[in-house]
Amino acid sequence: MEKAIEVEGLVTHYGNREVLKNLSFAIPRGLITVILGGSGCGKSTLLKHLIGLLEPTRGSIRFNGQDITVMKEEELNGIRRKMGVLFQGAALLNSMTLSDNVALPMREHTQLKESTIQIMVRMKLELVDLSGFENLYPSQLSGGMKKRAGLARAMALDPEFLFFDEPSAGLDPVTAAGLDELILKLKDVFKMTIIVVTHELPSVFMIADYVIMLDAGNAIFKGTLDELKASDNTRIRMFLERRPEREAYSQEDHFRIIAGD
């Protein structure tokens, strides 16, 4: 397995609270890696570190061997040009039409002629089945269409790494499955390294090649999907079998908490 991204000893804090606790893992090139975990386990924070939006307290994140945590803004922007990110709410700029949104990275980072950019925008929108919607504003689109438009924008500069933050969140099962299929298509056609942060099990089973599972800021599992299914770790079993967490305190403690002393 060739490593595309390596994370080593990543520690991060929100105030005094430690959110990620000494994470180390590698993300394989050309495959779909799913970062899995319950709500509040730190997976969105991890994603923000991977795309260089947050600076960790300690640790390194290396893209093709280059550590982005010690880079200056200019160098980091060089790496960012190789990344595409689809945010949870698609994060399209509401003041611009769909085609301007998709064209934005090209206009900012390339010297292409406007006519070429327009052709490329139409190609990207066709890729996500949004041909003909060029002149609409994000507020005129449904949730699923916004995500696909966000994906078209993420794909604008033909990135080497593609990140998805909760792609199925807020979508109905049919639309979510459509998006999963699109992710698989992107992997097969463009051979991209794809990183998906999610907690949706059906989606994980459909797209994942490699899984990293987080629990309370620790990586409790790294391996293939089959290894995940075969794991006998209690936390993983609870997650896969959708078992609720039992209260960790005794009845006496419970009484004391309710009584408030």
Partner: protein, 268 residues
């Protein structure tokens, strides 16, 4: 058991730590705004010209009616108030001096700045705040586009151009308001009022007003942007920050006005 002195110092420390963070954030934003507006264009990162024009329309052109009406009324009020005292001395013609000088040196710039704070300062904070809440700022950063350069610089350029323009417009309309009142209610002769105004006004009165307007443009944009970037939560926080943006920018406009007035009093 901590002593009273330790408690007191601890209390000051706990109050000071968040303020220190605010000062740090504010200086970072001011630094970014100045870098991306005045330095980076010389390093091959051009200003977004079209966006600046569209901001000029929103912040400047669209503010013309309200600035016009308020300036007209203030001109009339000022002439009436001046006449109230001056007529006791039979010096009604000096209404022209008072209206002309106080509007160009003081009221034109400050009224325009307060109206623009209310219209555009709040809009900047709300726009940037909602963009932050919707992860649009993160999206820009992840595309390698600096949010300050993309969003704030066009607004700053627009206000630095349009606030002085609006101020000149406000000066003109304000003086016109005083003129209209004087030739009708006060029955002054139009030509002598005009002459009196021209004689009373110095070029430096208008220039100092414009320098103030230019500084107010920077204050209003910076405060609006700062409050917008500070939004952490959702809609409620956007509302709170928008209010703070208006209050803080009006306050700072007055503080800077005091500073420049003192400066011009001694050095012009």
């Amino acid at each position: 058991m901590p002593s009273i002195a330790e408690n007191f110092l601890g209390h000051i420390g706990r109050r000071f730590i968040p303020i220190r963070k605010d000062i740090h954030d504010a200086s970072k934003i001011i630094n970014d705004i100045f870098y991306w507006t005045f330095l980076s264009p010389f390093k091959g990162k051009p200003i977004r010209f079209k966006a600046s024009i569209s901001e000029m329309v929103k912040t400047g052109y669209n503010a013309v009616p309200i600035v016009g009406i308020i300036s007209l009324f203030v001109g009339i009020i000022l002439a009436l108030q001046a006449a109230y005292q001056l007529k006791r001395f039979g010096a009604l013609i000096y209404v022209a001096n008072l209206v002309g000088v106080s509007i160009t040196r003081e009221l034109g710039p400050i009224i325009t700045a307060i109206i623009v704070s209310g219209r555009s300062g709040s809009a900047f904070a709300a726009e940037i705040g909602s963009m932050k809440a919707a992860e649009e700022l993160d999206a820009l950063t992840s595309m390698g586009i600096n949010p300050v350069r993309f969003i704030v610089t066009p607004k700053l350029i627009a206000l630095m151009v349009m606030l002085p323009v609006l101020t000149v417009f406000s000066d003109g309309i304000g003086i016109f308001g005083g003129f209209m009142l004087s030739i009708t209610v006060l029955e002054l002769h139009p030509y002598s009022y005009f002459q009196q105004t021209v004689n009373a006004l110095l070029v430096k009165d208008i220039i100092t007003g414009l320098i103030k307007a230019w500084a107010f443009a920077i204050v209003i944009t910076t405060v609006g942007a700062y409050q917008g970037f500070k939004v952490e939560g959702g809609a409620e926080e956007v509302g709170r920050r928008t209010t703070s943006a208006v209050v803080a920018s009006i306050f700072l406009v007055i503080v800077f006005d005091l500073f420049f007035t003192v400066l011009f009093y001694y050095f012009t």
